[in-house]
Symmetry: none
């Protein structure tokens, strides 16, 4: 069925263990297509080969080609019409909404002096709620860290993180006085997906103490989850005094 030229390689029996898991066939097909679109070989509006032609060319089954094309349509890269064909879509501009930033950069950008203190660094077992956030069963092992970030000696953020050991097995051995968790995790791998949820909370007594608040001042709480390869690798809870911080953004429409 497969010709000798231009087909995707058969999956090897013993894949190179140092390399990442080989991309699945349909991902290879997606890559084959996006590469040609990105290079301009297939211009905007032009017609792609039909599913059956791609089957011939790439030596995979039509269902595999179909899945690749369906996902590319979901990503807005191609448009499809039954009975007609598949076409390169017009690229759509995408606005960044919430950015991933290091608070140290944030403070220094504002002219402040940043320092941080490690309060806690340990292994825990997840309770039900935390396990749910990681799509895992209760009792799974997670790393847990708590840091305080100061701007000119005033506490600005409590940074609490739960990290999957599979993603960062050496997390507990890091010196977070010099390298921040954000940078360390980012260096292992930038997340493929990020979720942010913002709450208003009244801080617990211990949080009040850490933030050196006089009373039960309202706080902003940003809960961030990051994914790599479809798995939750980190859940961070960042707590800011409401009087000292705000989130914002501006964009043209």
């Amino acid at each position: 069925m497969a010709s000798d030229t231009d087909t995707l390689p058969r999956r090897t029996v013993s894949p190179d263990l140092t390399a990442a898991r080989p991309a699945s066939r349909y991902e290879q097909v997606k890559h084959y297509i996006t590469e040609r679109i990105a290079s301009g070989e297939w211009g905007v509006g032009s017609r792609l080969p039909s599913e059956n032609e791609l089957v011939e060319t790439l030596g995979v089954s039509r269902m595999t080609v179909h899945r690749a094309l369906r996902e590319l349509m979901g990503e807005g890269i191609v448009t499809r019409a039954q009975g007609v064909g598949t076409f390169v879509a017009r690229p759509a501009p995408r606005a960044e909404v919430l950015e991933l930033r290091d608070i140290a950069d944030d403070i220094q950008a504002g002219g402040g002096r940043h320092r941080s203190r490690v309060v806690l660094l340990e292994t825990i077992r997840a309770d039900g709620h935390l396990a749910l956030a990681f799509d895992q069963r209760p009792g799974v092992k997670l790393f847990h860290s708590v840091l305080i970030h100061y701007e000119d000696d005033t506490p600005l953020q409590i940074e609490e993180r739960f990290v999957s050991p599979h993603f960062a097995p050496d997390y507990l051995d890091q010196d977070f006085a010099t390298t921040h968790p954000h940078r360390y995790l980012f260096q292992i791998s930038p997340p493929h997906e990020v979720e942010h949820v913002i709450f208003a909370v009244t801080p617990e007594a211990d949080q009040q103490a850490l933030l050196e608040l006089d009373g039960p001042e309202a706080c902003l709480q940003l809960v961030r989850r990051t994914w790599v390869d479809g798995r939750v690798v980190m859940r961070g809870v960042f707590t800011y005094p409401g009087s000292r911080y705000s989130f914002g953004g501006r964009r043209q429409t």
Copy 2:
């Protein structure tokens, strides 16, 4: 293969032409699942039947069940883990950060019943701070409205707006019991530019009363400014009880 009970109906040979095309099998499977999640029969975090169990129950092939579940995962409704199972995901945050939405749509999307009450509708003269927000001199005339939005008779938002008379000269004559300010302003012109800033605040006594809070619960405050033709046309202050609302967003990187 299929049992007689609870299976999805076989596609009829002559579908009812008055009805829309019958939903495809995988869509029926999706509906079967989302219905049970929405009804609470399958609670957050609970495990769904495995693919093979659904194959047995619904009398469709595993590929069909798999596609339904894969799409539901893409929509954030369930999470899946190889070797473990499929679980009902945590519900997504109510409002996307930096997205311009009508709270009435927001509430109805969540299955709630929306109503609103006009507390105030007047003309004021801007003080220094407010004039600054509009890039105007103090003393400039602005329209001022305060509404409360309820979800099932529970206050969910205080909506306070300052509107430039040049942009919406008839603002005070509107019946905001039927048309909300958001829709009215949007219909005059969608903004060219939007700024959002999110705070955590402890509400004043009058705000506590309007939101029917028992105590000084932390609140989220979203301040929005919108521009049309380079001029600020609206400044809105939206106050939510922290326990009843959250902002969030998720994106791929």
